[in-house]
């Protein structure tokens, strides 16, 4: 198939998906009982007139369809609405939190792949004690809930007292020089990132090991051995590309999950990312923020899928036949 047209079609379907997600999340949040302003009703200092005026100001008295149309038009111009709870535009609020989350999950994802792929390859190729340790360790990590891993890490760090906990900067960070600030952020990053790595590592490790073990049985690998190809080259140049397809799909998912994977960990370790914001805005019925977070997550999902499909297309020539 024509590659350019393939990409065009994929992007178009991605945009359609985003539109559907926005419609769905908008109408669902409108159907949910109550709004942010309902809390004000209970406040005796706010008169019913003020309340009605506020409703009109935020357009809450208009029908859903109209509100959605307004929202969509604004969103297309980059304006994702206004947060009642934070009294700030949603876009800037989200952008700030998003970058914090991406710093955390990006680092964690990078570390996971950096560790898991070589370990998985070695585990499949060498077998023996390394394989047994990897298999035992990954079973253990898989069976322990994420939250327990994070709490255990926190407990450990609190006792040792070597690392800062909570937030992403020390209280006096304003006085630091740039290098000190970077060091400070990295130190704050250690605990949440480690928790995320420990949670995601076994999945990637297992997939890599399985895919490699299967390819290493293939006749063409035996043939390459018969041609005297170096063992290391055999693994990396011959076997790995042939085993890459399932890993690329997994990589696409990990991109898609960049924003959501860390939700729980962020809340537990106090990382000021999208997770705590999402949770708070749900409780506060600050729906503009909720919708915006959902939209950003969906956009990442679309991008992640597209990336993995294009990578697959590049790596496996057999797919191009269609």
């Amino acid at each position: 198939m024509n590659t350019a047209r393939y990409i065009e079609r994929r992007i178009a379907s991605g945009l359609l998906l985003l539109l559907a997600v926005s419609l769905l999340s908008f109408s669902l949040s409108a159907l949910a009982p109550g709004s942010f302003l309902d809390e004000m009703k209970l406040n005796p200092q706010i008169s019913p007139e003020t309340f009605t005026a506020l409703r009109a100001q935020y357009g809450l008295d208009q029908p859903i369809a109209l509100r959605y149309a307004h929202w969509l038009r604004a969103a297309l111009h980059g304006d994702l609405g206004f947060s009642f709870a934070y009294n700030a535009p949603v876009s800037s609020l989200i952008w700030n939190r998003c970058s914090n989350t991406l710093l955390l999950t990006g680092t964690a994802t990078f570390l996971v792949w950096l560790l898991a792929v070589p370990l998985g390859i070695l585990s499949a190729a060498k077998g023996g004690w390394l394989d047994r340790i990897c298999s035992f360790g990954s079973s253990l990590l898989l069976s322990v809930p994420e939250i327990v891993i994070a709490l255990a890490l926190l407990a450990f760090v609190v006792r040792s007292g070597r690392l800062p906990i909570g937030g992403m900067a020390s209280l006096n960070a304003e006085d630091f020089s740039l290098t000190q600030r970077i060091r400070d952020t990295v130190l704050h990053l250690v605990v949440p990132a480690a928790a995320l790595v420990l949670a995601a590592l076994p999945i990637v490790l297992r997939h890599t090991r399985t895919a490699m073990a299967e390819v290493l049985q293939a006749p063409f690998i035996k043939a390459a051995t018969g041609h005297g190809i170096f063992r290391a080259r055999l693994l990396l140049r011959h076997a790995l590309p042939a085993a890459a397809s399932p890993l690329i799909s997994l990589f696409g998912f990990s991109i898609a999950g960049l924003l959501s994977a860390s939700l729980l960990i962020e809340v537990i370790t106090g990382w000021p990312g999208l997770g705590p914001l999402f949770l708070e805005s749900i409780f506060a019925r600050d729906f503009q923020v909720v919708i915006a977070v959902v939209m950003v997550s969906s956009a990442l999902l679309v991008v992640g899928n597209l990336m993995s499909d294009l990578l697959l297309y590049a790596v496996d020539p057999r797919i191009r036949l269609e």
């Binding site: 024509n2 590659t3 350019a4 293939a218 006749p219 063409f220 035996k222 043939a223 390459a224 051995t225 018969g226 041609h227 005297g228 190809i229 170096f230 063992r231 080259r233 140049r237 011959h238 590309p241 042939a242 890459a244 790596v315 496996d316 020539p317 057999r318 191009r320 036949l321």
Partner: protein, 531 residues
């Protein structure tokens, strides 16, 4: 074709035994006390039926057997060095560089995600510390030596984009790119049509002259060994004997092949009628542009009568396999009609198509690739029944066992996985799997080309037997002209995507001859009237 060679042996093997550790801890012997030698520049053949241990012999020389195999030998010496005592790195330097190996099934032996030129260069790179460019130049040179340079894009092609014959050439180039002194060739011509087989054998002879390479040629085909080898050894149940006396000049067995059926009913409506069938594939052009569409099938017309055996011959790349896949509805043709017993297959709804599938079965050339390696023999034959939801568990198993016995499997073999069978046994398994649904038409796409002549006859006898008791037609796609002439009721020829019909009467007075034409005009099979 004997050439003078030094008598001091290049490879000296004495008392080589290979034992496999079975599941219960007991050992079973794959090769017992084999002794032979190969001189410089000599071609030594190993003949044997499928499962006799030929391939194991070849692999054991390079110590490429799995860990469950135990090799013992009084001597396994190559150029004076004992191969059994070499360390891993020393052995690696021998493999592909001094002794190289050509594997049996090129489709499986080539990496599906690496360009073939690169795969040849990789072998050279593993043994020479030279620049990337030199490796590629060397690979390109060898693509030329195996006459693949006519395809401009050969270097950058992936294995699935090449034809069967072209893949064979790539494997040969891989084996020779380092200029080894000995090549172990495991069935180097299996699955090739006669013309290509000739070309490949000529190529091997030519390279042997030019490079003074010795060959250990493993084959089940007497004709190939007779033509190529200075000496031939015979392998039978793990025992190696000198077969020079046993083989006649023409190794083909004189036992007549079973005729399928003489009484062809001409008046009936044909089982299959194909008219104006066309199929083309989109080629990939530069960058993201589309290349021109290549027509593989051009207005094919043919009919297959009820209860008949129709043979289809043609050189590789002429569209035989595409036609087979279209007939089995594995692929949708671009235009035309396919009628099975009066029903137009191209107008079936998906549900109807599903019901139709058991009626036409296709047995492929490459059995190892078409069988699920995780199932055992019994499950493989049973699976189609399961998919079509026929009978209960007990009857399905009974049916599978019955068929396995009919194709000559011992009950002890029922539980084995495909990789534990030899190539010939796997092919019989694939045939059993096609038989189990009792189809009306079975298409054999070069299905017997990988079998030794004895097994081939057994299979053909089985096919004939099955035809006696039920209404069944065969479409045999083959390049083995002798086989086709002996068993087919009618013969069709395929050339450049079109089918030319040849009647039996016409063929009765003529002989086929494979003719390899000059390289410039390409090679072809010609139907030659003998005077």
């Amino acid at each position: 074709m004997s050439l003078p060679y030094h008598r001091d042996p290049l490879l000296e093997v004495s008392n080589l035994s290979v034992l496999y550790r079975g599941a219960g801890g007991q050992f079973c012997a794959a090769i017992s006390h084999a002794s032979f030698d190969i001189g410089a520049g000599e071609i030594v053949g190993v003949f044997g039926a499928s499962g006799s241990g030929k391939t194991t012999l070849g692999l054991s020389i390079l110590r490429l057997l799995p860990d469950s195999a135990q090799i013992t030998a009084a001597a396994l010496r190559f150029q004076g060095r004992d191969l059994l005592t070499l360390r891993h790195e020393q052995m690696r330097r021998v493999r592909g560089n001094e002794i190289s190996i050509m594997y049996q099934e090129p489709m499986l032996a080539l990496n599906p995600v690496m360009r073939v030129g690169e795969q040849i260069a990789e072998v050279f790179r593993a043994h020479h510390q030279v620049s990337n460019r030199e490796c590629r130049e060397r690979a390109a040179e060898f693509l030329q030596r195996v006459h693949l340079h006519k395809r401009a894009d050969a270097f950058n092609a992936y294995p699935h984009e090449l034809s069967g014959g072209e893949r064979h050439r790539v494997v040969i180039a891989q084996a020779l790119v380092c200029g080894p002194s000995l090549v172990i060739a495991d069935e180097p011509t299996a699955g090739l049509d006669a013309a290509l087989q000739n070309e490949i054998l000529d190529l091997i002879s030519e390279l042997r002259r030019d490079l003074r390479v010795s060959f250990l040629l493993i084959s089940h085909d007497h004709a190939v060994l007779d033509r190529m080898c200075d000496r031939t050894l015979e392998m039978s149940a793990g025992l190696l004997t000198d077969a020079a006396v046993v083989l006649g000049r023409n190794g083909r067995s004189s036992r007549p092949l079973p005729r399928m059926n003489a009484e062809t009913s001409g008046s009936e409506q044909p089982l299959v009628r194909v008219s104006a069938l066309s199929k083309s594939y989109q080629t990939r052009g530069l960058r993201f542009r589309r290349g021109p569409a290549t027509g593989v099938l051009r207005n094919v017309d043919l009919s297959i009568p009820q209860d008949s055996t129709v043979a289809l011959i043609g050189q590789s790349g002429s569209g035989k396999s595409t036609l087979a896949r279209c007939l089995a509805m594995w692929e949708k043709p671009d235009a035309g009609e396919i009628e099975l017993a009066g029903q137009d297959l191209l107008r079936l709804t998906p549900t109807e198509l599903r019901q139709f599938r058991p009626r036409v079965q296709l047995v492929l050339q490459d059995s190892a690739a078409s069988i699920n390696p995780n199932l055992n023999a019994e499950q493989i034959v049973e699976e189609p029944l399961l998919i079509q939801n026929r009978g209960d568990k007990h009857t399905r198993r009974e049916r599978a066992r019955q068929l396995l016995e009919e194709i000559g499997f011992e009950p002890a073999m029922f539980e084995r996985k495909p990789l534990e069978f030899s190539g010939g046994q796997r092919q019989r398994l694939a045939i059993a799997r096609a038989m189990v649904l009792e189809p009306q038409l079975i298409i054999f796409d070069e299905s017997t080309s990988g079998l030794d002549s004895e097994t081939q006859q057994q299979v053909l006898a089985l096919l004939a037997e099955l035809k006696k008791t039920r209404r069944l037609s065969y479409l045999l796609i083959s390049h083995d002209l002798h086989l086709v002439r002996d068993i087919a009721d009618s013969i069709l020829m395929m050339q450049d995507g079109s089918v030319v019909e040849g009647s039996r009467e016409m063929l009765a007075g003529s002989t086929f001859r494979a003719r390899s034409a000059s390289a410039a005009t390409g090679s072809g099979i010609a139907l030659v009237e003998s005077q």
